[in-house]
Amino acid sequence: MATIDRDAGTGTAIASLKTEPAYEILSQRQLIWRKFKRHRVAYICLYILIALYIVSIFAEFFAPYGAFQRHGNYLLAPPTPIHFVDENGVFYLRPFVFKITNELNMETFRREYVEDTSEKYFLHFFKRGEPYQLLGLIETDIHFFGVDEPGVFFPVGTDSLGRDLLSRMFLGARTSLFVGLMGLALGFVLGLFFGGISGYYGGGIDTLIQRIIEFLQSLPTLPLWMALAALVPPEWTPIQVYFGISLVLATIGWTGLARVVRGKLISLREEDYIMAAKLSGVRERAIITRHLLPGFASYLIVNITLAIPGMILGETSLSFLGLGIRPPAVSLGTLLQDAQNVQTVTLNPWLLVPGGLVIVIVIAFNFLGDGLRDAADPYKHV
């Protein structure tokens, strides 16, 4: 807006032009994404999880060995050290491992694995190894990395049957990550349905569902899970067992989500903008889809993300107890069964690494959920 004024003192005419600053309009999704990116930790966790899921989908490719491949000479072998410099101080660009032999330690009288520096085996990428089916469809035998035969490379050591722990971990991660997702999906459907009708219609239905939820939530989770998991017949195939365990997890898990959905719906229902929509004559269905849902969708996503760790922990615990995923199927929980014996674990602490992966996954989901929540909150100025 331009104004022309007369200065009181000198009578000079002054023109002033005020320009508006340039600005852009972003959609809500873009706004949320921008805010999210500023939350560094959550951003990193998102990529960590994406990487984990990719690795687990292509588990057999990324693993150096087959998950069921036994190495009879290397039972309970410790993680194989990688070297770039050999015993003569020569530097190689390509990493390598030394030959590993099993020797009797003359002082402790225990069998130990020692490096034999006389032989080197180089690490190669895209090496041919144990054949497998990529995505269950394509026959191939290319692995992401491996060492020349007869060298062996166990990045995280082996278990009591001589199976490479890292390979098993990738496969186990696949089970745990996806069973968790499935349990969540089922629980989500249940939770959304019950929470939805409870929150939207209120009254008698609401009270009834609320009582049921209260009831289920006041019961101790694990004993219930144990009892429900024991229902899964031993004769079922691994696929069916996956599904059964997901169902079990969902049966208790849906209550949390239902409560969240209901709570949010109730508070949204009372919001002034819904009242405004109603007064403007918007139809009920339109109220739900165009007004309630968007305010609600991001909230839902956050809660789902935060619920996944619970599912994963549940599956891991159940499998550890032997009530969840059953051998020969592999999950991070079953891998930890090997670690149940205190003596064994103390002597072979690498058996706990699958547990470390569980921790990382849970932490990553937690941070991701936190970051999403902060980003989606329209009133929080970052």
């Binding site: 939530q217 101790p220 550890f320 107890l321 849970v362």
Partner: protein, 331 residues
């Protein structure tokens, strides 16, 4: 006010009844029965079971009756005489089997709850008043690990550390000489001395969660107007914090006992299994696998009772603490 309490009490009884029904039906859902398992077991050992013996056992334990009759056969003696029936697997009255274990479960759960509150409250207070300090970050980090680690893994790591560092095999709640001894003050003290390890393991997840919640509640309350008013009156800072925002932030936390108890009972079950403690957890697992109906259902029910009663108590506590609710209910 009184009517509200009575209402809640009646409601609790209803819940307990439902729990008993649920427990019984869940245990009995898997196909097959104890009898069949027993027969299979015998067959695996090489014994051919006597058909008449099997039939005798079936009738004796009423396993041929319809399910609701079986339920009544179980629940009525429980209510009237406290008789939980007979365990098929161990051939003992269920009550004899579980009573000491149940007691120990209660002791561990109670101790864990106390541990959780005792540890979380000071840490949360410190973290909230020293936001962004090194201590705050440190506790947040530890808390995160505690939350993310599955209970059983924590137990395992604990055991390994104890073994490597102290050369001691932890486990068990009693020294060998007290294991089968009758109860006495000395035995109780022995129990207390063995409690720290399981209690710390069980309580860690709860502690981490509570610290997080309490800290964020406190930070929220610190921004509130009544805190500024108190400061404007000249009240000293520490007094101010404890008297006002702390009390307010405590409310949802206390009522959260209701949510804490199920997870503690749950956690203690699995930790007991790993550490080999003589509590309900390990026994429940075996009973479930063996489909020992009376034993499993009784234990499942009793564990649920623990939490339901605990939730009721925490509701009562909340009423006492928050005058707003007290008066709302009275009107």
């Amino acid at each position: 006010m009184g009517t509200y309490i009575v209402k809640r009490f009646v409601y609790m009884i209803v819940v307990l009844a439902l729990v008993s029904v649920l427990s019984f039906y869940i245990i009995n859902l898997p196909p097959g029965s104890w009898i069949e398992n027993y027969a299979l077991q015998l067959a695996a050992e090489g014994t051919i079971s006597d058909q008449s013996e099997l039939e005798f056992l079936t009738t004796r334990y009423g396993l041929d009756q319809p399910l609701h009759i079986q339920y009544l056969r179980w629940i009525v003696p429980v209510i009237t005489r406290g008789d939980f029936g007979q365990s098929f697997e161990w051939r003992q009255p269920v009550w004899t089997l579980i009573q000491e274990r149940l007691f120990l479960t209660v002791v561990i759960s109670l101790a864990s709850v106390i541990f959780v509150y005792l540890v979380s409250i000071p840490i949360a207070l410190y973290s909230a008043t020293h936001q962004y300090s090194a201590g705050d970050y440190f506790f947040s980090f530890i808390g995160l690990i505690g939350l993310a680690t599955p209970n059983f893994l924590l137990a395992l790591v604990f055991m390994v550390v104890m073994l490597r560092v102290f050369g001691v095999t932890p486990g068990g709640l009693f020294s060998p000489e007290y294991l089968r001894a009758p109860w006495s003050m000395a035995k109780f003290l022995d129990l207390l001395s063995h409690l720290p390890v399981p209690v710390i393991v069980v309580g860690t997840a709860g502690t981490a969660g509570l610290i997080r919640v309490l800290r964020s509640q406190l930070l929220d309350e610190f921004q509130k107007q009544y805190v500024i008013t108190a400061r404007a009156k000249g009240v000293q800072e520490t007094r101010l914090i404890l008297k006002y925002p702390f009390r307010m932030a405590l409310n949802p936390v206390i009522s959260g006992i209701g949510g804490l108890l199920p997870s503690i009972v749950s956690g203690s079950a699995i930790v007991s299994i790993v550490l080999g403690l003589p509590t309900t957890g390990p026994l429940l697992l075996r009973a479930l696998i063996a489909q020992d109906t009376y034993a499993a259902a009784s234990m499942l029910m009793m564990l649920s009772f623990l939490t339901v009663i605990g939730v009721f108590i925490s509701d009562m506590l909340l009423i006492w603490l928050d005058p707003r609710i007290r008066f709302e209910r009275a009107n």
